[in-house]
């Protein structure tokens, strides 16, 4: 039986996932910025559900109040940019495959064995879970460094042109 707090988590978590998908569905910069702000805001609500009010406040101040506003003003005010190279269907297919590959080792055993979902906390090993967050952070950091590299290459090439 799902409790009230779990129902709230499912509600806001589902809304967050839908907002993440809507980023690739929208065609202009302003709506993408608003969807990104919505994700940050819903993430703060989930922090509140997890009884971490300090993290929720920091998330609201830093991400929603600062970064999203900066993004919307800095990017969207320069003119509406249309995205022409996005297809949502491959993104959804990719996401399902990657989610299955990542979630099966931790969550799949519990679901397939018919046990309650709460038992995952008993069988999980903390070192493995820390390794999981390490992977997530590493991938994001690599993508971030790739973006910086593309900026530097672009500047170098355009200066030499």
């Amino acid at each position: 039986m799902i409790s009230g707090i779990e129902l709230l988590f499912l509600l806001f978590g589902g809304a967050e996932a839908v907002s993440a998908l809507l980023i690739f569905k929208f065609r202009d910069m302003l709506h993408v910025g608003v969807a990104l702000s919505t994700i940050f805001f819903l993430n703060a609500i989930i922090f509140l559900i997890a009884q971490q009010p300090l993290l929720a406040v920091i998330q609201l101040f830093v991400m929603v109040g600062g970064i999203s506003t900066y993004f919307i003003i800095g990017v969207a005010s320069l003119g509406v940019s249309r995205f022409r190279h996005v297809r949502v269907l491959p993104i959804v297919a990719f996401a399902v495959v990657i989610f299955a590959l990542m979630a099966y080792p931790l969550l799949g055993r519990v679901v397939l064995s018919g046990a309650q979902a709460g038992q995952i906390t008993d069988s999980a090993i903390s070192a493995q879970l820390v390794a999981y967050i390490g992977i997530l952070y590493l991938v994001a950091f690599l993508l971030f460094m790739t973006s910086i590299g593309s900026i530097l290459i672009f500047r170098f090439v355009s200066d030499n042109r």
Binding site: F24, I98, M102
Partner: protein, 98 residues
């Protein structure tokens, strides 16, 4: 709160971010996908440390700083490329040499 909910939502957001970065060629969407991955990392981190205990604040500040720097660079990059009327399609960056 059940840990598996946090893990499922974090993995789902991570998968969406990775898929978005792989499937889209627009530089802004790639960096926003990075932001989604970082959000997934914060979710998984909060879920883990909420269950196991420990200091989550330093890790979250590291993630938030990368996210903030990413958006700052995104805005600078976007202004730079729009000033020089460059295409934001990353697959066309190699054609700048022509």
């Amino acid at each position: 709160m059940i840990l598996s909910y946090f893990l499922a939502l974090g993995f789902g957001l991570f998968a969406i971010g990775i898929a978005g970065a792989l499937a889209s060629r627009h530089i802004i969407l790639i960096i926003i996908s990075t932001e989604i991955i970082l959000i997934a990392a914060t979710l998984v981190g909060v879920g883990i440390f909420d269950f196991y205990g420990g200091a989550i604040i330093p890790i979250l500040f590291a993630i938030w700083s990368v996210a903030a720097a990413g958006v700052m660079l995104l805005v600078l990059f976007y202004r730079y490329m729009t000033r020089y009327e460059a295409d934001l399609d990353v697959t066309k960056l190699s054609k700048l040499r022509e």
